[in-house]
């Protein structure tokens, strides 16, 4: 049998509340800064959203890898 102390219960409750609040804030911020893709729904929505958002956060300027002129032929 699992013994759940009052302290454990409080800590778990607080952690769950903090996690849910964090997710809600992250969702709001993502909407505000255009980090949610059009295909964010469905079973692949989570992966699509994380990929889309990280690409927009990481790639500020170039959308493709740039090589120096000295490497004209790869």
């Amino acid at each position: 049998m699992i013994h759940l102390s009052r302290r454990k219960l409080l800590v778990s409750g607080l952690a769950a509340t903090a996690g849910a609040s964090g997710l809600a804030v992250a969702a709001r911020l993502a909407q505000k800064y255009g980090l949610v893709p059009p295909d964010s729904g469905g079973i692949y929505g989570l992966g699509e959203t994380l990929t889309y958002a990280s690409q927009r956060l990481l790639t500020q300027h170039s959308l493709a890898r740039e090589f120096p002129r000295s490497r004209g032929r790869v």
Partner: protein, 261 residues
């Protein structure tokens, strides 16, 4: 005859034995909740990544080294399997159904979940000193003799003792550390290096691996190493007692039998 309470470890619970002379089965704490939850999420993600990864490889079962590689360039090696793309030369007279679309979407989704789960595991492991307590091998276990003994023991197909089942030997610890801190980061890095967006943001990450096609080849070989680890891991679990080990990874407690003095 009852076992004295003082002999019990903290958190241990004992199941009363019906016959006084029979061994007493004790439930000792084994894995924390974070370890168990992250283990099973990673397991689901790993199988998803493996299945979708195979589907992705089938669309182009040729591997190259360097920056570029196409059906018109000589491959480093080629898997002897048919392809799901008509233009990929495989030597087979037929083309497999193309499952590349959903496979890629699911591969990336499972990868995200695995990476986030892994981060949670590593942060929790550092905060709770899980790595130091359970995975960092002691100096005594690092001698060649001790490592060889740990390596050779499973081949003798001996049942592991209760003490051995409740902690990892030095070879197991080194293997887990290698998988967690070398293979997993390398498979993530080589996977990210194949992304055009990631390569444009961090070109050095691709250059260090020898190019995008080299990253793909490394990703393939590291995945093979992880599959090999999985096979050995499952074999060791079977040898150590499948239901006890699997139960411990679900409930967090492992059954240890104690004989009466």
């Amino acid at each position: 005859m009852a076992i004295p309470v003082s002999a019990q470890l903290p958190g241990e619970t004992s199941i009363p034995s019906a016959v006084s002379t029979a061994p007493v089965t004790k439930l000792a704490p084994r894995h924390s909740a974070v370890v168990r939850v992250t283990h099973w999420i990673t397991t689901i993600c790993f199988f998803t990544l493996l299945l979708t990864g195979i589907e992705i490889v089938i669309s182009h079962p040729r591997f190259y080294w360097g920056e570029t590689g196409t059906v018109l360039t000589a491959p480093l090696f080629q898997l002897p399997i048919p392809s799901s793309r008509r233009l990929v030369p495989t030597g087979y007279g037929y083309v497999l159904p193309d499952q590349n679309g959903w496979s890629r979407a699911l591969h990336f989704e499972a990868a995200w979940i695995a990476v986030l789960t892994g981060l949670l595991y590593v942060i929790s492991g550092l905060l709770t000193r899980h790595f130091r307590k359970n995975l960092l091998p002691g100096r005594a276990g690092l001698s060649w003799r001790a490592l060889w003994t740990s390596f050779a023991k499973p081949f003798r197909l001996e049942r592991t003792s209760a003490a051995e089942a409740s902690s990892y030997n030095a070879l197991q610890r080194l293997t887990y550390l290698f998988v967690i801190f070398v293979l997993f980061p390398l498979v993530i890095w080589s996977g990210l290096a194949m992304s055009l967006g990631f390569a444009s943001a961090f070109p050095w990450s691709v250059t260090l691996l020898g190019g995008r096609q080299s990253a793909r080849t490394i990703h393939f070989f590291v995945s093979l190493a992880l599959v090999l680890f999985l096979l050995v891991h499952v074999a060791m679990v079977c040898l150590a007692g499948f239901w006890n080990c699997t139960g411990a990874m679900i409930t967090g407690r492992t059954a240890t039998r104690k004989e009466h003095a």
